[in-house]
Symmetry: C2
Subunit: 205 residues, 2 copies
């Protein structure tokens, strides 16, 4: 029986993740991955059968990274305002760690919707259900503006992730270094918190 947990496999996967994030599935060659991993080109198929299987595996990992971080916040028994702030803070942390993540996921789903959507669908339901319920309840008490989760989440994620999707462009156009860009994104994150909470809780400042 094969017991696959060698370090070569890990190295290839990490290298492939990095290359896929940068160049996408179509723009990445098997030799790109092998070079980035510093390994022989045949090893990719030895461990992962094909470029596509390796990609799907990595896509699943990255999608889980993207969704799980938000999911475990939605499950916490905390108030709506705290929860929304926590979502934004967590998403900000994730974007800082992996700025290409959202553009990668969106591009690949756009490219191969049929194959990659099933992965997404479980997360989507789990993510929206809890928050939608909380929103409906609080809206029925009149404490917040009536707003569906299908509008709230794009507001939050869109206005925050947008600046990370265009990170390279933004940095080069404005001549920023990493520290300056982080300063900018943190300010923006705080604006987004105010932007969204002000809208959702109309009475408060």
């Amino acid at each position: 029986m094969k017991c696959i947990n060698s370090s070569s496999e890990e190295k290839i996967k990490e290298a492939a993740k990095s290359v896929f994030l940068k160049k996408g599935f179509a723009g990445t060659t098997a030799r790109d991955i092998a070079d980035a991993a510093g390994m022989n080109i045949a090893l990719t198929n030895y461990y992962f059968r094909s470029k596509e299987r390796l990609f799907v595996e990595i896509f699943q990992d990255l999608l889980a990274l993207y969704c799980t971080s938000t999911l475990h916040i939605l499950d916490q028994p905390i108030g709506l305002r705290e929860k929304i702030i926590a979502i934004i803070e967590e998403d900000y942390r994730l974007m800082k760690q992996e700025p290409s993540l959202v553009l990668f996921i969106m591009t690949e789903i756009h490219r191969d919707c049929e194959k990659l959507l099933p992965e997404m669908s479980r997360y989507k339901e789990a993510m929206t259900k809890k928050l939608a319920e909380q929103l409906r309840e609080e809206a029925s008490h009149g404490t917040i503006r009536a707003l569906g989760v299908e509008h709230l989440l794009p507001m939050i994620l869109g206005s925050l992730q947008f600046i990370f999707m265009s990170k390279n462009m933004h940095m080069k156009l404005h001549g920023l270094n990493e520290a300056q860009f982080e300063e900018y994104t943190e300010k923006h994150k705080n604006h987004v918190i105010e932007l969204v909470t002000n809208y959702l809780f109309p009475s408060s400042s």
Copy 2:
């Protein structure tokens, strides 16, 4: 002297635009383009020299489409609130017409920053300068919240464009048809108008 304005050239360019928007530069083959245009594969290089030159030409067109529509609104001598609403309405119109546009532009700039950024830089300056000035002036009068254009535009464009970048995903996950999706996006657009104006003009409802 060659006078190139035949209909074959137009057909190839239109087909290439459609294919590039859907599959990106790396994911598109010369034969994809020829097939979509219903033309012989050699004609692409006959008219456009290479796949890359054709792509750059199309990228420039699509970038202009994206930027010009907003630019001509920023130049109008209207109040800040009307201008912001006009930007959102115009961006909404554009997204409805070409939902893949933003994801395409972002992905390609992410892929080949060096080559494609110079195209972007002219627009960026023209877009931000006018609005930044208007924001500074009104903020100095205390009529609006102090907010840089580098935060305002991502708020607007991010929260609005986000739902179009993930259009296919959203439609399939929620089982929507085109009409239902348009209904959703129009509601969202109106939310974005309120979201942003409420934040920028704190005193008003």
